[in-house]
Symmetry: C2
Subunit: 337 residues, 2 copies
Amino acid sequence: MLRDGVRRLGPLALILLACSGSTGSGEAEQPRIALVIHGGAGTIRPENVSAEREAAYRSALTATLEAGIALLHEGASSLDVVETVIRRMEDDPLFNAGRGAVFTAEGRNELDASIMDGSTSLAGGVAGVTRVRHPITAARAVMEKTEHVLLAGSGAERFADAQGLEMVDPEFFWTERRWKSLERAREREHVGASGGAAAAFGTVGAVALDRDGRLAAGTSTGGMTNKKHGRIGDSPIIGAGTYANSECGVSSTGHGEYFIRFAVAFDICARLRAADLTIQEAADQVIHGVLHEAGGEGGIIALDASGNPALVFNTDGMYRGYALADGQLNVAIFKDK
Amino acid sequence: MLRDGVRRLGPLALILLACSGSTGSGEAEQPRIALVIHGGAGTIRPENVSAEREAAYRSALTATLEAGIALLHEGASSLDVVETVIRRMEDDPLFNAGRGAVFTAEGRNELDASIMDGSTSLAGGVAGVTRVRHPITAARAVMEKTEHVLLAGSGAERFADAQGLEMVDPEFFWTERRWKSLERAREREHVGASGGAAAAFGTVGAVALDRDGRLAAGTSTGGMTNKKHGRIGDSPIIGAGTYANSECGVSSTGHGEYFIRFAVAFDICARLRAADLTIQEAADQVIHGVLHEAGGEGGIIALDASGNPALVFNTDGMYRGYALADGQLNVAIFKDK
């Protein structure tokens, strides 16, 4: 009730209430809006990224954060913001999700996504869809319109179609850049070379905290270049690619098999719950500890219930950024910038 | 080194070493073999199960445990034993896995399975296969023969076929009992009735601890009667349906969506790691606490690294049993027997 009143009175009242300590939240910090996003992790080094491409990524990440934090300021739910910013990245060919997705060994784009509402612990995901323009929206429809959490393949597609979601010809997802990646991967495979995998994965994701203190997280991907046999990675898997509860939200990117085997997104939240750790420390333990020791490469973005962000990766780089209630907005690609 | 010596000397040496305290394991208990299995949880009440059917289940569970514990005594790996006992239950029409699987809304049997080796943290799973006689063996092949963890649909099937696994006509899985369940579910749906879901799910699973102290866990299912849209439940999902590491192994059965949303199998292991809990206490917290509060029905079987079993469910019953190193063998179906 009080919180509803605060929402109607606007941000100023929120600040006054926070200062007066009359919200009844006791020792807990007042929730504040926050948004953190990623566009994939991997062997992203300054020498591998042209100045032009670097500028394009920075610009895309900045515009996405600005759009998302504005929505949060206006009172949008974290779930809406996560869906909106991921749709935007799905439409952007720079990122391996939606349009711009990488190709499977069979030359197709098979898309995966998941979303979780931390305030209800409801979740949804789709795996291996080829005609849904915005897989993250299909994931949300699974969460909201079915009793299920994960739908795969043609069944997921028929469901999305029946829900009236935007369906496209599979060619919609084709981009020359990703097709060339597949050709290079096939060539490497042909000559028996290994490696290159770290460069070939990518994902987009977002975690948001809204004015009502609700966390949500989502992830969307085109998977791994040259993937085979109907492989499902971590992105549509709740607990691996995406997790959110009332204390913690996480979206992962990286070598998905490791993220599944170590339930990376859930484990960060479990460590936060179990011990007196910050979200940064919990994420560091999993990404630089557990995952690194196992040989797993990738990263995560996360928020805690107070809006503290963590952006942690054990690769050369991760496309990433955060925007906070106080106007801070930060975008980075490489280890330190 | 010492442990290899113990294995060569046999069980007597193991007991002597354990008593002399000379194994260097400090305060830790000596690993001992153990096996725990389940055949599904749900609305299983004495009044719903005929004496004949009850006897058939008790007999099947007992024979499965006897076969499995004998293999462990002979020195078989926990991974081999988990696969072997699950294959046996997949072949038994009593259980909703392999032959005897329930039907989807489209009248098909779509099978899911996963397996995890706690000693290596490697894992594999298949989802939505329709022609693989033993999905658990396909899951193990994914773990051992690919870089992936989860394969789905026709891709998973082509992979299993290429690996030389036994493929069958989809009709192989047909049983009259499960077909009638589908007809009843369709009828309930037609008249707009709800419920019955709790009775309609089922799964088989096993967790084993071998002489070398290695834990493994596996799960196999036909899913939910009348499931739609390529739904994937928790059974093929590492962290939800199955988890194993060096300290803990878990296999789940129940309303799969809840098991995914709360990463049930992983969470039990995370709680064991984080706090001074027994495996029983960790499982109780998740099944009777988290899951019950969310309205999720089902159960788990688990072992810790000392071979202590936990068999926990919040439904009326769970087909279940355990066999321990000292010869104890226990089988139960209902709440208390």
